[in-house]
């Protein structure tokens, strides 16, 4: 090629061209702030939704793992067992090698709790005496915290003469885990669908962009622009949409976390827990923005490979 500039300047101008084109694409987006913002916002919302769900699930998972360490066994004593006998039993059990702690819930406290939780407080007034038994809540040592060991402990405790019923509060934990698994799956399904939606949104936006710049594409082809050269600005536009959408999604997530934090903290205090919402963290934030950029790039690639061929000079 007689007219080609020499190699070294070609290479540096290749990167120069990328930089120039990426900035030019950003400039185009900046020139139409409202249209850009709306497209980016749609992308951001589509991304923020699964991210928020993920955070919620992640937090529930953390919360339940706290509970998991404290599987409880409730010992409902016979109603004729008095406080002294119960206390003795408590002290005895606390020395048991598999037991960490035993909580004592006497009849009055049990009644109070029952009133609070059940809402039958008024009905209970009509009873002449407290029908509730004394309850000992046994917290096994964490080393014992395996299903079969706990079960044998429950059996052992159930044999005690004072105990009417020994109940392992573990069923609901299992149920919660199954539920979390289902929720986890659904988040993946939702995320996949929304990712496809993002691809379509970006693809359509780029398609319109291509239509608007038809003349420029035709002229560029006529004066010898390669397909890669013509593709480049559109790919960068898609990338920028992805990047802006990703950052907006992060902001949305942040805001929703802040909105949720106070009520959740209050709730946690009611349960005497120091639980606090944990956010995305640095790595996941980076991942979110990277995924968003990738979606932008893929979406624009789909549009470009589909529509640029249709535009040929005539």
């Amino acid at each position: 090629m007689r007219n080609s500039p020499h190699k070294k300047s070609r290479l540096s101008s290749y990167f120069g061209n990328h930089l120039r084109v990426s900035l030019a694409s950003l400039g185009r987006l900046y020139a139409q702030p409202i249209a850009t913002f709306m497209t980016a916002a749609v992308i951001a919302i589509a991304l923020a939704l699964p991210v928020d769900l993920y955070i919620a699930l992640d937090n529930v998972g953390k919360l339940s793992s706290d509970w998991d360490g404290s599987t409880q066994i409730s010992l409902f004593l016979h109603t004729d067992v008095d406080k002294q006998q119960a206390k003795k039993l408590q002290h005895r059990l606390e020395k048991h090698k598999h037991i960490k702690k035993v909580e004592f819930i006497d009849k009055e406290k049990g009644l109070e709790q029952f009133k609070e939780i059940s809402g039958f407080g008024d009905a209970l007034k009509y009873l002449d005496q407290n029908p509730l038994p004394i309850v000992l809540v046994v917290h096994p040592k964490s080393s014992t915290n395996q299903p079969d060991k706990t079960t044998s402990l429950v059996k052992e405790l159930g044999k005690n003469k004072l105990v009417e019923l020994a109940q392992l509060d573990v069923q609901w934990v299992k149920r919660l885990y199954t539920f979390l698994e289902i929720a986890n799956r659904s988040i993946w399904v939702i995320s996949t669908m929304l990712a496809i939606a993002v691809l379509l949104i970006i693809g359509n936006t780029i398609r319109l962009d291509i239509q608007n710049r038809r003349e420029e594409i035709e002229v560029s082809k006529l004066i010898g622009a390669s397909d890669a050269f013509i593709r480049r600005p559109f790919l960068y536009t898609g990338l920028w949409y992805g990047a802006i959408g990703g950052v907006l999604a992060w902001i949305i997530t942040l805001v929703s976390l802040i909105l949720m934090e106070n009520p959740i903290h209050k709730l946690a205090l009611l349960y005497h827990s120091e639980f606090r919402l944990s956010g995305l963290g640095f790595e996941n934030t980076l991942l979110l923005i990277l995924i968003s950029c990738a979606l932008g790039l893929i979406g624009s690639w789909l549009a470009v490979s589909r529509h640029l061929k249709d535009i040929e000079p005539s």
Binding site: S13, V219, S220, L222, S226
Partner: protein
Amino acid sequence: MIHFDNVCKRYPGGHDALNRVNLRLPKGQMAFLTGHSGAGKSTLLKLIAMIERPTRGQIFLDGVNLNNIGNRKIPYIRRNIGIIFQNHHLLYDRPVFDNVAMPLIIQGYRRQEIHKRVRAALNQVGLLSKEKSDPITLSGGEQQRVGIARAIVHKPLLLLADEPTGNLDPGLSEEIMQLFARFNQVGTTVLIASHDLDLIKQMGSPMISLQDGKVAHNGLPFTVNDANVPAR
């Protein structure tokens, strides 16, 4: 430079735009292509610029058989050609300078080089003072000259012009043609499609006239039946 060997072009629908055309335009030659509209002038230029492909026959450009050029290689063929249109195809969203710089940016020239060459090209068409203007603010003749500057800024081997003076008054038309003659003098091969016979005669360059897709008259110095293989 350009060699047409028994070239036929039939458009979908069965219209024969070119029928067994043989042509040989030597390097450094300037020539005019005439004929009434529909005679195949534009088709012939489009075949050279690879906007269309021939149905039959072979076209050689600077010794390269265009039939052997895949679609991906077309841009590199076009970089050796400067194309000028009747409606000049300027982009109105950017100033004159950026319009003219397009071929250089596409080919990856450096900034300083682009600056130098664009200004030189604009100087040659007499529009250096308008480099920052928007094309829409220029007159028709000036816009056409910007189009010419864009076509010659990368110093192509071949200049193709399709009715470059179609919309201009006689004075401006002559000015444009003189411009082409000047590029030809420095070695560029020039092929201009035009129906302005008076102006063509005035220019004194050879004329090829097409009629119904066939060469009706060939004023080129080399004969059509010259059976030489194309120069490599």
